[in-house]
């Protein structure tokens, strides 16, 4: 049967893996290509590389990085960070990426999702949503790496993106990200229940139980985490062995 996916995420700034808490206070976590290859060997099901470098040369550096990753990694990988056009996507796919993730640019110009899907297929379009639960109890979409609030509800944007041709949703809860208190189960479950495309839960993983819960109660198709893997707090093999004991289908 189809297995639940465990996806390490590598945030990259100026060629190094970094990790912050609630989107700030970045710490260095090593060479992304070496880390990615290690995770693939340990049984990661996919990898996500997000370039958070904010320079004008970023497009070329990202392309070079993707070429390096593609040479060393034989599992699917998604690349994101500042992708603004179908042309950007074409360059990254040509360099060996399997999927791209789009975020702010797609929100500002939803036709981008449709254009990428028409050109390269829905399967390569991952829509990343950074979302935060406000005091009114609703989850809202945030842009620019979590710095800009919008008045759009997460569920509404996710529905629209799915209709436009997004192939998967990468859902990051800003309330949970970096806290290690567990994934945001309510919004994950809402998206997983209402959308017909896979939902990748992200933000808050701290223990192996959190993964069990996000699959069983959040109904996520995949779970993404960063620091717990980078800082070796949880190993992918032990995590998968644990999930199997909990009757979650995983690839061992």
């Amino acid at each position: 049967m189809l297995t639940k996916r465990i996806i390490p995420c590598l945030d990259i700034k100026d060629g190094r893996t970094v990790k912050g808490t609630n989107f700030v206070n970045l710490r260095d976590a090593g060479d992304p290509v070496a880390l990615g290859a290690l995770y693939a060997q340990q049984g990661a099901d996919e990898l996500v590389f997000l370039d958070i470098t904010a320079t004008v040369e970023r497009r070329d550096t990202l392309r070079e990085l993707v070429l390096k990753i593609a040479r060393q990694i034989n599992i699917p990988f998604t690349v994101g960070g500042g992708i603004k056009s179908v042309e950007d996507v074409g360059l990254l796919l040509k360099s060996g990426a399997d999927k791209v993730s789009v975020n702010t640019a797609a929100f500002n110009d939803p036709a981008l999702i449709k254009d990428i899907a028409l050109e390269f297929g829905s399967q390569c379009v991952v829509l990343a949503i950074d979302t935060k639960k406000e005091e009114d109890g609703e989850w809202y979409v945030y842009l620019h790496g979590g710095r800009t609030k919008t008045n759009t509800r997460c569920i509404d944007w996710a529905r629209e993106a799915a209709a436009l041709g997004a192939g998967e949703i990468l859902l990051t809860s800003m309330n949970n990200d970096g806290t290690k208190n567990g994934f945001a189960l309510d919004i994950t479950r809402m998206l997983a229940t209402e959308l017909s495309i896979p939902v990748i839960a992200s933000g808050g993983a701290g223990t192996m139980e959190h993964f069990n819960t996000v699959f069983k109660e959040g109904l996520a198709d995949a779970a993404l985490a960063a620091s717990i893997f980078h800082f070796k707090e949880i190993g992918i093999p032990e995590l998968k062995a644990y999930l199997q004991q909990q009757n979650i289908p995983v690839r061992l």
């Binding site: 049967m1 189809l2 297995t3 639940k4 996916r5 693939a40 099901d45 593609a70 040479r71 034989n74 599992i75 699917p76 796919l93 040509k94 360099s95 060996g96 990426a97 399997d98 390269f120 297929g121 829905s122 399967q123 390569c124 192939g167 998967e168 997983a192 229940t193 017909s196 495309i197 896979p198 109904l219 198709d221 995949a222 690839r251």
Partner: protein, 208 residues
């Protein structure tokens, strides 16, 4: 050392073929991406990758003049061919996706997943699933029964018999996930994205 085999990866404008190219480079062979019938003629083996819409794919093959060249190389010259995902689907007689005829090399049709429990079975099927081997195809040599591969698809094969089936997979129900008919091979899954097991399969194809 003999000269490396010429592996033609057919580019007919459907999706990302560069991953396939990069992984075949890791085998002992010389892959090239070809877009015309002339370029295809020198190939020792052919890989037909692809993602996207079936009808558009057939239209592109026709328009680029690749259809006749492929039929000649595969059906008459018996060159080994590996269809991956949409590439395997194109080898069938007919697809529901666009209601069009395929290459007709394998007696099968392509239909959309008929899923009852859509909450736990999202379409497209995305991720790692296992294959159950049928028979003893050289394509699956040194690959265990129940080995896991990366899948990404909304449509699948349906055949009147299991004569050409070398592997099946369960996604709510059992369906055909790999086929072989003489020199014609197809996998619904993506060996180029399936880690060491996938590389083994590509090496098996090169070793044929």
């Amino acid at each position: 050392m003999s000269t490396p085999q010429k592996i033609a990866i057919v580019n007919y404008g459907m999706g990302n073929i560069h991953t396939v190219y990069k992984k075949i480079q890791q085998t002992n062979s010389a892959p090239t991406i070809v877009s015309t019938a002339e370029e295809l003629l020198n190939a020792d083996k052919i890989v037909l990758p692809g993602v996207g819409h079936f009808a558009k794919a057939m239209e592109n093959l026709q328009r680029n003049g690749l259809l006749d060249a492929l039929n000649d190389l595969v059906l008459h010259k018996k060159k080994p061919v590996l269809g991956i995902c949409l590439g395997m689907q194109l080898m069938s007689k007919f697809s529901e996706e666009g209601d069009v005829e395929g290459l007709g090399w394998i007696d099968a049709k392509v239909m959309r997943f008929q899923i009852k429990d859509q909450l736990t079975h999202k379409i497209p099927q995305t991720g790692w699933n296992s294959i159950q081997k049928h028979g003893d195809s050289p394509l699956l040599k040194k690959i265990d029964d129940n080995a896991e591969f990366y899948f990404l698809h909304s449509y699948h094969y349906h055949a009147p018999s299991y004569t050409n089936v070398i592997a099946s997979t369960v996604f709510e129900y059992e369906y055909i996930s790999a086929v072989q008919k003489e020199n014609i091979f197809g996998t619904q899954f993506h060996p180029e994205k399936s880690h060491d097991t996938g590389l083994q399969l590509l090496n098996n194809f090169i070793a044929l």
